[in-house]
Symmetry: C2
Subunit: 260 residues, 2 copies
């Protein structure tokens, strides 16, 4: 089971993550096949903190929990692997590549093993650093964006979105393909099986978002004009309606709002 | 003043960094223009932890100080900027790009501002995420390596080193160009003005390396066959001879030894 979380906000928001200590599993069968990662947008780059190690024993996670980083776009991925195979830093989401001077990040929930067998899906410019199906799919997208866009159009949504949409449809044929993607300007979300979002004007106070595995604290807004969009595998609050993303459609968020 | 540190070791070594709290400067004139970053080789990727913020006030650094990460290649960069300009995550060393499935990292000490004015030095495939002369030079190297090498020869030193050497000579014409570079297999070091190294069979016990700004603790070797090469802007121990790298020559280390 993997869990995705994404945030897009009009103004920088302090986001603090806490992962549940897996006390129901810890200590019984030794280290688990868990990994987690968080990408925080900063300028044309993303600060990425990730770890292939179990969350319950992570000094790196304790750092993240004790420190709130301010950003307008955040993508996080928590992995609960059922098998211990392929646990490495390079196999941990989110993945990042640079295109035309903008970092692009990607995190995926699901399995698309068939992508390894289809010769049409062989990236050429960008190559995986690890051996996940997810990173291979991401490299393929980055290849296509490089081919279809230019330095001038790299953030042109009218040209970029069709490339992402078409790629999402093709890769979805291989299995479950829920993902979050960002180019520092837009947050792109795609539901294959399960992904929800909520968008709202302003939080009244510091707020906690919770799921079984994850608690996210958002700082109190410093301005009335704050606006947030949140995307997650499971609804993280109970007092508002989380809307299921339309299956098979890449939805775009910018500065806290869903674009039409 | 910037400080470079690099390590190449035969077996994975636990490396713990401590940066001196800048107490002689802290609190007098407010936050300083300092940044720091560390890259730890892991598989075909590098774990990069970096921050544009002053070290004396860094939760991220406290994490690094309290946690030893094991690696065979480490590159670190500490910046003491004299001007507060251009402090951002994207402008903080080390920089990273992927080429043919291998992460490549780069950290630079010096100034090469003329690189912004020379049209011959315009990278095409890789683009800077920030606005430093260092990252631009790095992108240029990555462009050339992409053009001269292939997926099969990306770690072929006999083909790769001449590209790096030629690039280092050209870029050195713009100013001071001490750097460390790695492709997960080799550690490349280039002295323009100041860079030392030491190579040795084995440490007798846990050891501290010190400079004015930096303390590095290396774990006790778990095997007799351990071998380490250390490269730094300033000699970090007093009981052994640190050798100045030959000016203008790219020196290569692999598995703890200087290659001939």
């Amino acid at each position: 089971m993997c869990q995705l979380f994404g945030m897009s906000s009009r103004l920088p928001t302090n986001v603090t993550f806490s992962l549940k200590v897996f006390s129901d599993r810890g200590g019984k069968t030794g280290p688990h096949g868990d990994g987690w990662g968080i990408a925080y947008h900063e300028g044309r780059d993303f600060r990425i903190i990730k770890e292939a190690a179990p969350a319950f024993n992570s000094a790196c996670l304790r750092f993240v929990e004790s420190h709130d980083l301010s950003s307008e776009i955040v993508i996080s991925h928590i992995r609960r692997a059922t098998a211990p195979a392929s646990l490495s830093y390079a196999n941990t989401h989110p993945f990042v590549r640079e295109l035309y001077g903008y970092a692009h990040v990607f995190a995926h929930n699901g399995d698309i093993p068939g992508i390894f067998e289809d010769r049409r899906f062989e990236p050429s410019f960008y190559s995986p650093l690890g051996d996940t199906d997810s990173e291979k799919a991401f490299c393929l997208l980055m290849d296509r964006l490089r081919n279809k866009l230019s330095r001038e159009t790299v953030l042109d949504l009218s040209r970029k979105l069709p490339v992402i949409q078409s790629w999402a449809e093709e890769v979805s044929a291989f299995g479950i393909f829920n993902f979050l993607f960002s180019d520092t300007e837009f947050l792109y979300a795609h539901r294959s099986t399960r992904l929800f979002y909520v968008s709202r004007e302003c939080l009244s106070a510091s707020e906690c978002l919770r799921s079984e595995e994850l608690t996210i604290r958002l700082a109190e807004p410093r301005s009335e004009s704050q606006r947030l969009a949140l995307v997650a595998t499971e609804p993280l609050t109970s007092n508002e309606e989380w809307v299921s993303l339309p299956a098979g459609e890449v939805v775009v968020f910018r500065k806290g709002s869903k674009t039409e």
